[in-house]
């Protein structure tokens, strides 16, 4: 290996250290005895115990998990339909607009999406009486709107790599398209569906800005509790909570990643973000 390569790998190592060190420190200091997050005084799990008794926080966490799961399920359905449209229906009329609409929420600053959705909900309530108040439903709808694009990206890349001969065989044997889709296509793209579900779940669990706009009184999600606590200053309880969230997300992402890698090991193209 030549000199240039070593320099390149050292740089990569430093870059990865930069990405991981802060989170690692955060986890380490969640086990610190002292309330001061920056001085190490001894090992303790007291912040985790306190966390488990924080009712407000636990309630917010439960709400967030319910929203995330509902969001992920709907996002997978809509995202898969969108991926079908892009891969299977070729150059349909309005395809450009369709793609534009699908990718715009991916990069749209969250303040824009949040504010505009809130104004929609307020206006709709004024005009037709729905949604009656804001909370679970409005937050979930907002999350589905941006998560489905991520699902579509993941499912689309899987769908376009798929071997279609099995589907054709089933068609030749007289199976109707819906039947073919349900019993052949879906099992084949299942890893992408799982990955998409998990990614949509973690995206929703993480969202602060959009939720803050479309939440109503009494529907405080976990990131909203974390944010208001963080604004007061650093607290070891938040470190403990953050460590748990990081662990959950890391497990989810690893499962998603490996289920995508499975069976597609030969086709080595990553999903385009």
């Amino acid at each position: 290996m030549n000199h240039g390569r070593w320099k390149l790998y050292t740089f990569l190592g430093l870059g990865l250290a930069f990405l991981y060190l802060p989170v690692l420190l955060l986890i380490i200091y969640s086990f610190n005895e002292s309330r001061l997050v920056t001085v190490w005084t001894g090992f303790s799990t007291q912040w985790y115990r306190e966390l488990m008794q924080n009712r407000q926080l636990l309630e917010a966490a439960w709400l967030s998990v319910r929203i995330a799961a509902t969001n992920a399920t709907f996002a997978v359905i809509l995202g898969t339909l969108a991926a079908n449209a892009l891969v299977r229906h070729g150059r349909f009329r309005g395809r450009t607009g369709f793609q534009l609409l699908l990718t715009a929420p991916l990069v749209m600053p969250e303040v824009i999406t949040g504010l505009s959705l809130l104004l929609l909900f307020v206006t709709l309530e004024d005009l037709v009486g729905w949604p009656n108040g804001r909370g679970f439903t409005t937050i979930t709808i907002a999350h589905i709107t941006f998560s489905m694009a991520y699902v579509a990206v993941v499912v689309r890349s899987r769908l376009s790599q798929m071997d279609r001969s099995l589907e054709e065989a089933a068609m030749d044997l007289g199976a109707r398209p819906l039947r073919v889709y349900l019993s052949i296509t879906l099992p084949l793209i299942a890893p992408a569906l799982l990955a998409g579900w998990l990614l949509a779940f973690t995206l929703s669990l993480d969202d602060l800005v959009i939720s803050s706009f479309v939440a109503g009184p009494g529907s405080t999600t976990l990131p909203m509790v974390v944010y208001s606590s963080v604004r007061m200053g650093v607290s070891p309880q938040i470190n403990a909570l953050a460590s748990i969230v990081v662990l959950i997300v890391a497990v989810a992402v690893c499962i998603a990643g490996f289920s995508l890698r499975q069976r597609s090991a030969g086709a080595n193209s990553p999903p385009r973000a």
């Binding site: 990569l12 870059g15 990405l19 349909f92 929420p105 007289g174 944010y227 997300v249 992402v253 080595n268």
Partner: protein
């Protein structure tokens, strides 16, 4: 019999097409496109002490006369108030510097991964993707305890004897840049990597055989060929950073306001919905050009056989 089956299939196909295209279209139309029409509507209203806190644009004054009042005051405030102008400029500046920093750090990383041995690539890529999905808020929060005056970095630097007094790092522009690079680096690396793995490296060998120096070969061959990935990554960083709220709010100080903060304050603090709506539309207008550029590129990449 055969004909019937064919007819049935055709009907099925039409139905599938309708559902596949129609359902996502309908959802996004209702919950993504329609809201902007409403934002436009409200940006032309006036604030009022009411629920919701803005006036109606139209009113029946007399029999058969509909009066429409369009209030352009909000936009004129946004464009003429120096506070907003400063926030817009600061947002663009932060996004620009952040994008360049991500590029300078992300390009060598993406290149290293793309040229690493096959079996390492999956693991390395996973290592890049993992933090990208790990709670954004928590990753920004992690930097607070590092950058604080009595934080970990100052402790370390004073312990090593590099500095005598703690540096002011938190609530500065520097802290915002660190937060932006930290949070958005994976967005830069992923498209660059996707682009670089498809690069034909035999071109570089050819250049070397013809006596081209490695650095010159990079400038003449690798860089131009990786331009689509480079632009895609840059847009994925630039566009969301312009409207960033969490990073300037938690890591920046009162002098480093970005447009996302202004919008948030107008809305939640001052309850001035029409002004917040006008700010939203101005921000959106600013982002149309980079977004269109990204879309065009996407289509060009798609057009290519990969």
């Amino acid at each position: 019999m055969h004909k019937l089956l064919a007819k049935l299939r055709l009907r099925d196909r039409h139905l599938a097409r309708l559902v596949n295209i129609g359902a996502p279209y309908l959802w996004l139309g209702l919950f993504f496109l329609l809201p902007f029409a409403i934002v436009l509507h409200i940006s032309l209203a006036e604030t009022a002490l009411a629920q919701p806190p803005y006036t109606s644009l139209w009113e029946w004054v007399d029999d058969g006369i509909l009066q429409i009042r369009l209030n352009l005051q909000n936009f004129s405030t946004v464009f003429h108030d120096e506070l907003y102008l400063a926030a817009f400029l600061n947002s663009l500046g932060v996004a620009l510097v952040g994008t360049v920093l991500c590029l300078l750090i992300g390009y060598p990383m993406a290149y290293a991964i793309a040229t690493a041995p096959e079996r390492w690539r999956v693991v390395l890529l996973m290592l890049i993707i993992l933090p990208f999905w790990t709670s954004f808020l928590i990753r920004v929060y992690a930097w607070i305890s590092i950058l604080k005056p009595n934080g970990l970095l100052n402790h370390l630097l004073m312990g090593l004897g590099v500095i005598d007094a703690p540096l002011t790092l938190l609530h500065t522009q520097t802290a915002i840049y660190i937060g932006v690079v930290y949070s958005y680096l994976p967005f830069m690396i992923l498209p660059l990597y996707a682009n670089l793995t498809r690069l034909d490296f035999s071109l570089l060998e050819a250049a070397a055989d013809l006596g081209c120096r490695p650095f010159k070969a990079f400038l003449k061959v690798t860089l131009p060929l990786s331009l689509p990935g480079l632009v895609a990554g840059s847009m994925l960083v630039f566009i969301p950073v312009v409207g960033e709220f969490v990073i300037p709010d938690l890591l920046g100080g009162p002098d480093n306001l970005m447009i996302g903060n202004m919008l948030w304050t107008e809305f939640f603090g001052n309850k001035d919905w029409p002004l917040a709506a006008a700010l939203t539309l101005s921000l959106l207008g600013l982002l149309v050009a980079p977004f269109v550029l990204m879309q065009r590129l996407e289509r060009r990449i798609e057009g290519e056989p990969s």
